[in-house]
């Protein structure tokens, strides 16, 4: 079970990760990087993902099938219901308070 977050804060990168996971479902770390238009870096994304997992915003699992290349099993990430609620609340607050920055 995911731990409860200490406080419901959301950094820019965490917001982006949640947006991508909410839109596209389960993704690998590298897929997040590829879909982020260079806003996420492959050298830092896993630290962000680890922290988001601690906060309970996302969950992860190792992929089912063993990889064909014989490498280590890859980790897939997915937004949790809490993560989706935080994303919705954050987006709503941004739209309300700073409409010029809202999509």
């Amino acid at each position: 079970m995911a731990k409860r977050p200490r406080v419901l804060t959301l950094s820019g990168k965490e917001h982006l990760v949640l947006e991508l996971l909410a839109e596209r479902g389960e993704l690998y770390g590298l897929q997040l990087v590829a879909n982020s238009r260079r806003r996420l870096k492959r050298g830092t994304v896993y630290v962000t993902l680890g922290r988001m997992e601690d906060k309970g915003y996302i969950t992860s699992r190792l992929e089912d099938a063993p990889p064909e290349m014989g490498g280590m099993p890859r980790r897939l990430y997915e937004a949790t219901p809490l993560g989706r609620r935080v994303l919705a609340a954050w987006s709503a607050a941004t739209t309300h308070l700073m409409p010029e920055f809202a999509k």
Binding site: G29, R42, G43, Y46, V47, L49, S60, P67, G71, M72
Partner: protein, 305 residues
């Protein structure tokens, strides 16, 4: 051997199992799933470097960092007296050993705090780990009491004898307050305080403050490992930038204060609180630790409501 296995083995020596599972292994697995390229390797190396301050390390690595910090602080503290000995043409290698107890009295608490932050940074400290930290800081505190009470005064006196005494046959050098043992300095302090309170002009004010700080300073150094451990524990759950900036800031301010603390400034620093100057850094650290802990608790309370 698969691509990235060497990097993974290297990282496994540094980081704990949780960090490996959550941060390093996913990066290596993705590296293995892609065609090889230098930039992909560079990204994993960057990740490992970034992880050093960001996440917790194995106890072995944390201990190494702790000892490194301790050695650096001891070296910084020994530099000034050794430079003095060198300028007098009296430097001998054995002086490094004589100055070691004094350096350790200040360095141990800083090294302990660095070790706690490295080992537990970014994650919750379990009850078992907390028990270990409390036991370690109490042991360091007990060792500091013996060190500043008896070992450092004797070592300081030996250093002074080597530097100042002209010939081995000349009269032994009189001991100053820092060279008195704990019992001696306590007795002198009590006596001087009693005389000063009954006859204010009978004891030189600067001497009284110097003596008071020699006595209170030993208690302050004795309690320092506990205060620093408390400060580090308060910081472990904060964000990496706050955690490391806070730790570095506290270490630099503490060391600067130690360097600044000299006999002429003691009366002004003490004010009406005789010996107070010895306590200020730890009181400040303890107060900051309490504020951070209460903030963390309040945030956790808000998050779970």
């Amino acid at each position: 051997m698969r691509r990235g296995d060497r990097l993974r083995a290297f990282a496994a020596r540094l980081f704990d199992a949780r960090t490996m599972e959550r941060v390093v292994d996913p990066a290596i697995a993705d590296l293995q799933a892609e065609p090889a390229s230098i930039s992909r390797y560079a990204a994993v190396i960057k990740l490992i470097v970034l992880c050093l301050p960001e996440v917790s390390m194995t106890l072995g690595t944390a201990s190494m960092v702790s000892v490194g910090v301790l050695a650096f602080v001891v070296a910084a503290l020994e530099l000034r007296p050794l430079a003095f000995a060198w300028s007098q043409g009296k430097f001998e290698p054995v002086m490094l050993a004589y100055l070691l107890p004094q350096g350790l009295a200040i360095a141990v608490q800083i090294g302990l705090a660095a070790g706690i932050l490295c080992a537990y940074g970014g994650r919750a400290v379990s009850r078992r780990a907390l028990t270990g930290i409390v036991a370690l800081s109490l042991a360091a505190s007990a060792a500091a009491f013996v060190n500043v009470g008896w070992i450092t005064p004797a070592a300081n006196q030996a250093f002074r004898e080597r530097v100042v005494r002209q010939t081995p046959t000349s009269a032994p050098l009189a001991r100053g307050f820092p060279e008195l043992t704990f019992n001696e300095v306590r007795n002198q302090y009590r006596m001087a305080s009693a005389i000063a309170s009954s006859n204010p002009g009978a004891v030189d004010s600067t001497d009284l403050h110097y003596l008071a700080n020699s006595y209170h300073g030993r208690w302050a150094v004795t309690l320092a490992p506990i205060v620093f451990a408390m400060f580090a524990l308060a910081l472990v759950r904060r964000r990496p930038l706050i955690r490391w900036a806070g730790a570095l800031g506290a270490g630099v301010v503490y060391l600067s204060y130690i360097f600044y603390l000299d006999v002429p400034v003691l009366p002004a620093l003490d004010g009406r609180w005789l010996g107070g100057a010895a306590w200020y850094p730890e009181l400040a650290l303890a107060a900051i630790a309490v504020v951070i802990m209460s903030m963390t608790r309040r945030e956790a309370h808000v998050a779970t409501r």
